[in-house]
């Protein structure tokens, strides 16, 4: 009973090499983990989703970060820059899978923590090393989102405008004007153009969560050492 009262009153507590998290800390770490997972899933989803879909003549097909299938004048386009981007998206997948794996692992540990150590009343116990995975996940998710924004920007600003949407070309017989393909720019395209502040806000939020959770994780471990 006395121990339970102590747990109620203090957030910084340890139990057999484990850190005991209070309700507020638990909420913060859980939020941070879920936010990292959500951001990473979003990056994977956005990398696979088409950025622009082209229909008609002369350009048809679609373009995404991972894979593109484009035809100009009814023949396949050879676009090495897109192939390079596709290779570079490997970083995005590695960077997204790390926060998902680490955060899910920590969340699982937090859920199982109560049963193992019989910590009650909304408190959770977790190995002090594992708690550091949460700020690491946030920072990795933030860095991956930064990279995603940069690659998306390159595709939208440098690569998409180089595609032949239509217009006129000079031939020996005169000026040949072709029809104009219809381009459907998806919300991912808008992310690079109109909604960039949202991405930056998400990055800042992840950075803040990473910094805060790291600070708390360090404080909890330091308190344990003192304790």
């Amino acid at each position: 009973m006395a121990k339970e009262q102590k747990l109620e009153s203090a957030n910084l507590e340890t139990l057999n090499g484990f850190i005991i998290l209070g309700k507020k800390h638990l909420a913060l770490f859980t939020t941070s983990s879920i936010f990292s997972i959500a951001t990473s899933i979003f990056i994977i989803f956005a990398s696979l989703m088409p950025i622009a879909i082209f229909k008609g003549y002369p350009l048809s097909g679609y373009i995404s970060l991972v894979y593109s299938d484009l035809y100009a004048f009814e023949k396949p386009i050879v676009f090495r820059a897109l192939e390079s981007v596709s290779t570079i998206t490997l970083s995005l997948f590695i960077g997204s899978s790390m926060p998902i794996t680490l955060s899910l692992f920590v969340l699982a540990k937090l859920i199982l923590g109560e049963k193992r150590h019989e910590v009650r009343n909304g408190y959770r116990a977790i190995n002090s090393i594992y708690i550091e995975l949460i700020p690491a996940s946030s920072i990795v998710a933030m860095l991956t989102l930064t990279l995603f924004t940069a690659i998306l920007r390159v595709v939208v600003v440098d690569i998409v405008p180089a595609l032949p949407l239509g217009g006129c070309i000079d031939t020996s017989a005169g000026r040949l004007c072709v029809e104009r393909s219809t381009a459907l720019f998806t919300w991912i395209y808008s992310l690079a153009i109109s909604y960039r502040p949202m991405l930056f806000a998400t990055m800042l939020l992840l950075l803040a969560l990473g910094a805060l959770t790291m600070y708390i994780a360090l404080e909890l471990r330091r308190a344990r050492a003192v304790y």
Binding site: V78, R80, E83, T87
Partner: protein
């Protein structure tokens, strides 16, 4: 003895560390402007020679010169982030032209100064990746053994290690690779002008187009000053032949226009003066529209006058009719015995048999007067009757 064994182990560990650091430095060689650099291929432009993930070894151009056929690395920026590994196909006065082996066309010419490295060797992905992985694993394992199988985890080490690993992976993928920034290659459908000429006798301007990629729908043409015309088309396979009929009034208009303008100098008859006009055509294909402006050129020619004994022949090689005043001057009588105006139609011949007009045998001078492009001109011919 035990101390020596430990010392040897430590030496081996240090050598492994140095090898790893050296490899890392060589991977960064491109960015650090080192004389030798390792680079990774991320594009497919050099297939089958180099495949995605292959490692190429470059030697700086100040150590090794390059020529046609060499594979070089050229970068647009000082930091060497946007680079291209392609083969040199042409070298000329400070510029080079490169081409990816698998690319359909060459890159745009770039200054020779942009070339940073000459590729001297390469290691396939399936060789270098396991080798480097093995070296890193051995270094880690040796460090673990060296620390007597104890791992000391400081506060914050796990987080920093994860972030550092991620940065290292990213640096590996992004920093040591190059983005192939070749322009997109695609074939543009051709519409070739095979021939265009003016068939002045038939008053038709002919345009022959080769349109293998498009299906012809129709064409509309107009002449200078917006004069509309009739267009007839004949399709033979991929070749479309447009025959643009030119109204005879249009030639009269040109004649009058040139006559009003006048001619500054005319040589001795029969003179010719070049004339031109524009033909503008809009050709509609199933997926494109061709707007072309073609120039039709022909010459105004003075009538050609000839005589055969008692017959005078006047040829009009113009697309307009000409009014001639023909006089017959009797040499014996020293006077004009015959005078009449004739109209010679376009591209026609006027033949006058004077034996049927003049009864008196003798020699005559036929004098032909006309107005050619605003200038009164005349020609003469000998006529012998009897």
């Amino acid at each position: 003895m035990n101390y020596d064994k430990k010392s040897n182990k430590r030496k081996r560990l240090w050598i492994t560390y140095i090898v790893i650091i050296l490899i890392a430095i060589l991977f960064l060689g491109k960015v650090l402007h080192l004389p030798i650099a390792f680079m990774l291929i991320v594009g497919r432009s050099m297939e089958p020679r180099y495949r995605v993930g292959d490692l190429v070894v470059g030697v700086a151009t100040y150590l090794k010169s390059f020529g046609i056929g060499d594979v070089v690395v050229w970068c647009r920026d000082f930091l060497r982030t946007a680079c291209v590994v392609h083969r040199v196909i042409d070298v000329s006065e400070g510029y080079i032209v490169t081409k990816g082996d698998a690319n359909p066309g060459p890159d745009s010419p770039v200054p020779s100064l942009w070339v940073s490295y000459v590729v001297v060797s390469y290691v396939p992905l399936y060789l270098w990746f396991p080798l480097i992985g093995l070296v890193i694993f051995l270094a880690g394992y040796a460090s673990y053994i060296e620390s007597e199988k104890r791992l000391y985890i400081q506060t914050g080490f796990v987080a920093i290690a994860i972030i550092a690993s991620y940065i290292a992976i990213n640096a590996f993928i992004l920093g040591f690779t190059y983005i192939d920034n070749s322009p997109p290659f695609y074939s543009i459908p051709r519409v070739d002008l095979l021939a265009s000429y003016l068939d002045i006798v038939n008053r038709v301007y002919v345009i022959m187009l080769n349109t293998s990629e498009y299906r012809f729908i129709n064409a509309a043409c107009s002449l200078s000053e917006g004069v509309s015309t009739n267009v007839s088309t004949a399709i033979n396979g991929s070749i479309a032949r447009l025959s643009i009929g030119i109204p005879s009034q249009f030639f009269s208009y040109l004649w009058n226009k040139s006559s009003a303008k006048g001619v500054s100098f005319l040589p001795s008859p029969p003179a010719s003066v070049q004339e031109s006009f524009d033909v503008s055509c809009t050709t509609i294909f199933d997926k494109a529209m061709l707007s072309g402006r073609y120039v039709a050129v022909f010459s105004w020619r003075e009538p050609i006058v000839r005589s055969f004994n008692d017959t005078l022949i006047v040829e009009n090689h113009n697309p307009v009719s000409m009014i001639l005043r023909i006089e017959l001057f009797s040499i014996a009588r020293k006077s004009v015995v015959y005078s009449k105006e004739y109209v010679v139609e376009s591209f026609s011949i006027l033949a006058i048999d004077f034996s049927k007009i003049i009864d008196i045998v003798g020699e005559y001078d036929a004098r032909i007067y006309y107005v050619f492009l605003g200038v009164v001109r005349g020609q003469g011919a000998k006529i012998r009757i009897g």
